[in-house]
Symmetry: D2
Subunit: 342 residues, 4 copies
């Protein structure tokens, strides 16, 4: 059976496992005060071309989103996001559980634009009753988005400027950041991205680690109390070194970027194969999530030998589906899938 359901199905990159072995009997202090965490922090800052930024590590994305958003917003503020945003749909109300509304903007491809933000802000402040409404206090985007799409440098710069103009921070959910940066269509670097937002995170869970997200706060005055905040949100890992050492491995010798590239190569090969066989794209994604519209007959046939997600409810004749590659997907897996569709 082949598996393309998601990018969190395997364990971790073997070098991470090796590092766990090597360091297993060492005794270190807890909660991220160890040398591995310090090392990872240093490597990440270098990779981002940053000096005065702060780096913290948490276990998962939902936890990270809720902690960062709750930490940044004032009580009367909400977070602006695309209606398809992960925080709006698939985090079980974790942001609202901290007391904040997700203020949604309708999106067609998972992306927000500078003009979306400008218009939202302008409309809000033009409304005479805006003091009875939830004030937009920050903007959340994901890179890549939940639909696999990415922002160009120009789009991200404009978004950054729109946020600056509105005097609200820009937060980038990078749960799949590696796969965005490794895309052939991506014209920005990690440094560009770091420069164009106030806080973002580098996803490990879906990109080679067992778990872990590295939060980079490029504007540290925004979140000066991360340790108690993370603790309060239940996200301060006791054996914090486990996060540090995984990111130390991933950011040594560009491993993070290399394994991200593999996922992209496999995804592009898959995409080309589907297109060549005449199947339609549901979204034209340049990253590791591929969305096709397939005849139900083919879906049924494929399902006997491969797992993947229906993207929404089954339709009468053909249905959108999602296939996901990851850092560990092999050429063999893709070839086997292609054989199945022939």
């Amino acid at each position: 059976m082949l598996h393309f359901d998601s990018d969190y199905m395997r364990g971790a990159h073997p070098e991470i496992l090796n590092k766990l072995f090597e360091t297993n009997w060492e005794q270190t202090t807890g909660y991220g005060s160890d040398e591995y965490t310090a090392g990872a922090r240093k490597l990440i800052l270098e990779a981002c071309g940053l000096k005065d930024a702060e780096v913290f590590f948490m276990v998962g994305g939902t936890q990270t989103n809720a902690t960062v958003i709750d930490g940044i917003l004032y009580r009367h503020q909400g977070v602006v996001a695309a209606d398809t945003a992960h925080i709006n749909v698939h985090e079980a109300g974790a942001v609202e559980a901290t007391g904040h509304k997700v203020l949604t903007i309708k999106s067609t491809n998972g992306k927000l634009s500078a003009s979306d933000i400008n218009e939202y802000i302008a409309t809000f402040y033009r409304d005479e009753s805006h003091k009875h409404m939830v004030e937009p206090g920050m903007v959340y985007i994901s890179f890549p988005t939940e639909l696999g799409t990415i922002y160009t440098k120009s789009e991200l710069s404009e978004l950054h400027d729109a946020c600056k103009k509105a005097n609200i921070p820009l937060f980038i959910d990078g749960a799949r950041l590696g796969y965005g940066l490794a895309s052939e269509e991506c014209d920005i670097t990690l440094s560009d991205l770091a420069r164009l937002c106030d806080v973002f995170y580098i996803g490990g869970t879906k990109v080679g680690a067992f778990f872990g997200e590295a939060i980079v706060i490029t504007n540290p005055s925004l979140l000066p109390n991360m340790i108690p905040l993370m603790k309060q949100h239940g996200g301060l890992l006791a054996k914090g070194r486990l996060l540090g050492l995984q990111f130390e491995v991933l950011f040594t010798n560009d491993l993070y970027f290399k394994i991200s590239k593999n996922a992209i190569n496999m995804a592009m090969k898959m995409k080309k194969a589907f297109i060549e066989r005449g199947y339609k794209l549901f979204v034209d994604s340049p990253t590791n999530q591929q969305f096709f519209v397939l005849p139900n007959e083919l879906i049924d046939k494929l399902s006997q030998h491969a797992t993947f997600e229906l993207w929404g409810p089954r339709c009468p004749e053909e249905t959108p589906v999602r296939f996901v590659t990851d850092w560990g997907t092999s050429e063999d897996e893709i070839d086997s899938l292609i054989k199945l569709i022939d």
Copy 2:
């Protein structure tokens, strides 16, 4: 200057003022444990044709909505509402501040339908990732809606059945309940409404009282701990008798219904006058809020002698506006307005 901005611009019905005078030097126990509150409770239950229901009093609508919704929902649940719902737009995130998401359904006239609910519930549970999503835990509607529209008995019965089928309670925000029930187009009674939902409230603030909303819990097992809940939400009035005596006055000799009728009569006279002069309706409202689309020229002219709300941002040539009547609006005020538009 004439004022049609809203229905909370005057003080209270004179009989309420008289009652305040008469009772001023009495000493009663606090927090709603007094005889006036007991009396109001009894009168309201009678007016609703209910025996085993509970009645509580709070000062304002936002407070009431947040307390009831927070009290009913489990932690992982949200409240389903129209996108135009007061709780979704004009309560500064009070529901989210208690940790719960407002789950919105697109609406054109402020109303939700049974099929909206059925579809929302069906789509939710058909989604394989629904355990990562906010579970719909109750339905909120307003009667009349924020756009002045009302539900027919048949529509409300179907909504009630849809909620029963989904096993979630139906909550009716009745901040303007009197004006809905007094409408000529309304085919339901207070008893019907009480029978067709699990909890609702009878608005006093906008209908003759200085302030106050009477919460009627027809399904008391839903909210067995209202006193500590109200206290925790900052909504348990120390001099609780002030709420009791206002509702005692309003529910004596049908005063609530009579003064509601006045607002409707004045609104219908106003509506007729605008229509006769060729002005378009923005929404065809049978209650005390009237929405027209007026030429900007007329808006400017009227504004010199009357206050009313632009309904959204000013448009190039003509703009939607809202005129509101209330329990105290006089025939003279309407006549003066009509003269202004001639």
Copy 3:
């Protein structure tokens, strides 16, 4: 029957009732944007000797405490208070419901001292695990306290300095402020108090109004978004002028101070009578709450003709009790009570 249970048992001062009558048919805009509220704000600032402060009005104390505390604290912070503080005991967890811990200090007479604060802060930061603990983010005191006691100017100055040194704001709950300032033992003025804290409120509910607390923010940078905050906490009264006009009356011709003085005079007469008859004080209170330890026999006898509170559970032979006077207590009432104990 005589009533000394609490200071929120009567209606309001007759001048407030008169004002309600006079203004009843006026139409004003809502939510505190009216002229009465502006007038009250001006009078209060004058009475406080303040120029750049902000004044807002809310309906009740619990609501005010939760809104102010939630608005000031960062997410990871808590509020330091005496263990007997109203917010810690009798507000049904309203502060915790906003997500913040009440950090208590043991107190014997309801008061906190500067050395309490200094020690709390020093111990906290000396603790190596303090980043895993709730950071003290502000100090709450009540004036008078829940036990009727008041702070001297010297005590309050020291508290103020301790907070300044710790760089955390001082918030004073003045639900009974008038009764504190009117006490013969009080050596501070309203201006002194305003100068020695960052935010406080002037209680109306217990001092002559039907309801209402006037929040004075002497350090406005602390709470720059009160309107949405109050709305979100369900505490922005629609007919806001009701709050404004009550405080306008109370702060015209020193009415607030004069009626407060009456409560003190009556309380002192009562206290003297009990002492002269050999009864012990439970707390030596210089304000309108009087605490005695009475033989159960006397309690039973008095209870036939007067209501008052047992202060804690009934003890075998004698039990602490509380008698409360207010702005409207008459000499006759006190004389009748004294006859009862003879």
Copy 4:
């Protein structure tokens, strides 16, 4: 350098590492829907002698405490705990951040007794103002406590009965459960403990795992919605199998109990050595945390070669300290420590 600071300083038991290696390239579905998690659940239920209980896995203790407590309590309720409880002191207000008060009872050795609970409940309901207070909605204890002490079967049975009588659930924080059960003074089994509470967890982080706590819900009606709750609290691990396989290893061949026993043996050897040399116990702990009162001179000398925690601020002459052993502590380490104190 020797390390006795805490029990989360090493990696994980080698068999867990081996399992990670073996399974690394397998692809499984996420969020605990995998076979390893199912296997662990089965083994744990067997070890507990339970059939109808539910088992869930989370990453850390603070997260687990907040999720369970928030999930069980109604809005107006709080959790009763010892003042020394981890949730009251060292979780940065995580419980309060969910909106609930921690209701503390003074404790001398970290334990609550049945009479503590009975008295708390009786006092609460005897208080006439209890509807303005936070209702006790559940009881939290830790086993072993934060001071290393454990409950006897008789004490735990009485606590269980007190909770049953008060009709509130009993929750046991078992972050160090293995070390409690392995203690020579412990007269209860895992089955006993499971039978005597409504929900508890088996700590992995401190007992052989990289991370992970296994929540056992013996009264499943209490927490019927754990998946969305865990997700909302940011505690549903994407690669859920990592939790499953660790606990599968720990509950195969009694590994959990065997490695717990090692920590106890080492702790007892250490304790005996200190006592024989005339040093005083700060608490007489039968588990893996040992508390001594040591002369500052000795503390300074030891600190050159070993790390451990001062238990509170340094005192003038002698200061309480904590030494912690764990599943991996070797006889050599203890012998080296003993040499240091000679």
